[in-house]
């Protein structure tokens, strides 16, 4: 049978330089067009930064900038999963619950004398299991991911409340507190640990998207699930992987947040449901799936964090901040992040 093998991809001679015979100007223009698309949310982030500096007196100092970076990092870590689930055409509504679970468990376990790395390992395995179930139920059982993850979140949070009755006594190691402190540093790097973690995770996420088989499958699965299935993309594997990544990243964020407040709080992730979705959408990732990516979400995280800081800075109270943040994000998305109308997509 080997004799009949078609050497279609291996036996063809290429141009010496391996390039296509197309005008470079066309290629260049296309590439520029794509970069402008990604650049817009970054430009907005930069512009907003200047606006904050102008509006809030005395904001312009290093500590303010570090706290912006720190808050954006936490949001960025929680948004990795939201970005990927939205690209494959789903949602992860269980992110806040998994954050709360991890937050409570890490204080509880460490406070009870469990070594921190054992505690972290357990939490990551538990969250991975939650994510795998999310992916399995959404894809294999063909249940709506919105409902599945909302229900999963409800189950997880309910369990946490039942186990703790809202009273958690525990503690976290000092270095965890330092890693989310503005004055913290990571070895020789004068940045808090969480920022460094975010930088590493961002690079990994971008590599995942562009340089791995799973990454390209994720985009194919989101762009056209039916075609992806026929083209041999292992859809269940893709969905379970993505939801596992999402839950693990949510758990890591929850652990880091334990250092932030010192006390464990099951509701620590509550505001992250809206903020993660907002960061993804403001970044320009389409809710229709298959388009966008984590690079955009990075910009989106800065924009969303800056908007919150801005609203605190102009002296709004908590309800006022929530109202205005909601309005501003809808306005932003309406300005440039809109899905193309149906007539344009057909």
């Amino acid at each position: 049978m080997e004799t009949s093998r078609i050497e279609s991809t291996g036996g063809v001679c290429l141009n010496p330089n391996g390039a296509t015979e197309v005008g470079d100007d066309v290629k260049g223009r296309k590439a520029i067009g794509r970069w402008i698309g990604v650049a817009i949310p970054f430009l907005i982030a930069v512009a907003l930064f200047f606006v904050i500096n102008v509006i809030i007196p005395g904001y312009a100092n290093l500590n303010s900038f570090l706290s912006l970076l720190l808050l954006a990092s936490l949001l960025g870590l929680a948004s990795v999963g939201q970005t990927l689930t939205i690209i494959i055409g789903g949602f992860d509504m269980s992110i806040p619950a998994v954050m709360g679970l991890a937050n409570v468990l890490v204080s509880l376990l460490y406070g009870a004398g469990v070594p921190i790395w054992v505690a972290v390992g357990l939490i990551i395995m538990l969250s991975m299991a939650i994510g795998l179930m999310n992916g399995f139920a959404s894809r294999y059982l063909q249940l709506n991911p919105l409902v599945v993850t909302l229900a999963m979140g409800s189950i997880v949070l309910g369990t946490v409340w039942a186990g703790t009755h809202g009273e958690v006594s525990g503690s976290v190691p000092d270095w965890l507190v330092a890693s989310v402190s503005v004055i913290g540093s990571t070895g020789p790097i004068p940045l808090p640990g969480v920022v460094v973690v975010w930088a590493v995770v961002s690079v990994l996420a971008l590599l995942l998207e562009n340089y791995t088989v799973l990454g390209r499958w994720i985009f194919a699965a989101g762009a056209n699930p039916r075609a992806a299935e026929i083209a041999g993309v292992p859809m269940l594997f893709v969905w379970m992987s993505v939801y596992a990544i999402s839950a693990v990243m949510a758990a890591i964020t929850g652990i880091l947040l334990a250092g932030f407040s010192g006390a464990a709080d099951p509701t620590v992730g509550a505001s992250y449901l809206f903020m993660t979705v907002a960061a993804v959408v403001v970044g320009g990732t389409a809710l229709t799936g298959g388009q966008g990516g984590y690079a955009r979400t990075i910009a989106g995280c800065f924009v969303v964090t800056e908007l919150s800081i801005l609203l605190v800075g102009v002296g709004l109270d908590q309800p006022g901040q929530q109202i205005c943040l909601g309005i501003l994000i809808v306005v932003l998305v309406a300005l440039y992040g809109r899905d193309r109308p149906l007539s344009m997509r057909l």
Binding site: S4, I6, S8, K30, T212, V213, A220, G290, Q291
Partner: protein
Amino acid sequence: MNTTIAPHSLSNAALLEVRDLRRSFGETRALDSCTLMLQPGEIHALVGENGSGKSTLIKILSGIICSDSGDVAWKGASARFAKPRDAQRAGIATVFQETLVLPDLSVHDNIVLGLDDVVRRRSGQLREAQLVREALAVLGVATLDIEQDAGSLSLANRQLVGIARSLLRPWRLLILDESTSALDVDDRDRLFAALRRFRSDGRTVLFVSHRMDEVTSLADRTTVLRSGRTVGTFAGDEATTERLLEVMSSREGARAAEGHAAAHSRAANGPTVLTWSEFALKTGRAPLSLELRAGEILGVAGLEGHGQVAFLECAAGRRASPCGTVAAERGAIHSPRDAARARIAFLPRDRKTEGIFAPLTVTDNITVSGLRRLARWGLVSRQQRRRVAVEVGRNTKVKMASPDSPISSLSGGNQQKALLGRLIATDPQALVLNDPLRGVDLGAKRDCYEVLADLAGKGMAILLLSTELAELCQLCDRVVVFHNQGVEAVIGRAELSEQALIAAMFGKYHKAPDVDVNA
């Protein structure tokens, strides 16, 4: 045959004049500067290969679709038929290729279909029956029982019923779009006699046919279309079969055919890739035992819904075989996973919903299925993917600005070539293609023919479902024809013709006694 040639004046009294008519469907130019002039009292033939624009022209004249530009003059006045009713009112009666006959209605009701007002007038029924009988008598089938269900009629009689329906309204121009394909010789002669009578009444007939003997014996004049353009109009004595075939065919077509002939000679004794044993789609249907060899293009044909798609899906492991087995070298195929392991690649029918990833690049679209092969430890570089896309894209003749441009920026034909490339990038030994060239423009089609013939020449086994008979005749070594969920015939290269395929598709194929199915 006593025919009276109606005196037609070629001076000014054209019944219908079409000038520079154009119509595009997306990227495809179906009609590109089409010209046609019909005289009162003539029988005019319209010929051209598939996709040359005949059906588009007829649809415009019948008010089914509108032209993009160009003039239509009806009885000397400019006319535009926005809907079928407009054309009917003007006096144009059209009988389409696929005659719409409702099987649950009686012959009578089928013929008067569409003639009723909103509320049917019972009082006119006697007169209606009279008209129906007259129409059938004109076509020479006065003996047909008009109260029987149309579903019980033979295909030929159904077609005559369709024609009778068109005759009921007052008309000046009758358009027949390949309406004779299902008629036997007697029916056809009776129909032709009727057409000649219409001509002597001063009425005009425009008919499309692929049968040159019909054209040369019946038509007063013949207009030839090629790639949506009018190549010329020939008077009866100029329109010899050789002449018409010559102007109809273009040089590229001939070359594509030659390419396959070369591949064909090499194909004969490759190893077996797929084996059907005692295979049937339904219990009780005659079982099929067949082998697909490396280097062979096996066609699959059938009227819509007659089982050919299920046959294809079984071969691709997307459907379990109802009876018997389909097996590759390593064992029976029950699932897409089995098919993938046997290196069988499947191309689905609907490009938009099952094929392309519209927001992704050409590179992504081509490499998605072959990523596993390219990757090491789950990693695959952008350059590597691009390189494969460029290579495969060149092999399948994809015309693209850059492998990084979105696939949606490509024409439909080039998208289809990219999808073919996706299959090839998985290094398959068999391709299972579900009507890959449907709705693809002519140039891309020719490219694809060459690509497929080339692949077969290199030892690829290809299972090709097509709805275009000419395509099957041109490309395939053998064609399996389905009728009523069963295999009606396996037609070998020697017997392969559009007529044979049509006969088999309608369940009328008479196998030559000594045809060995696995020859």
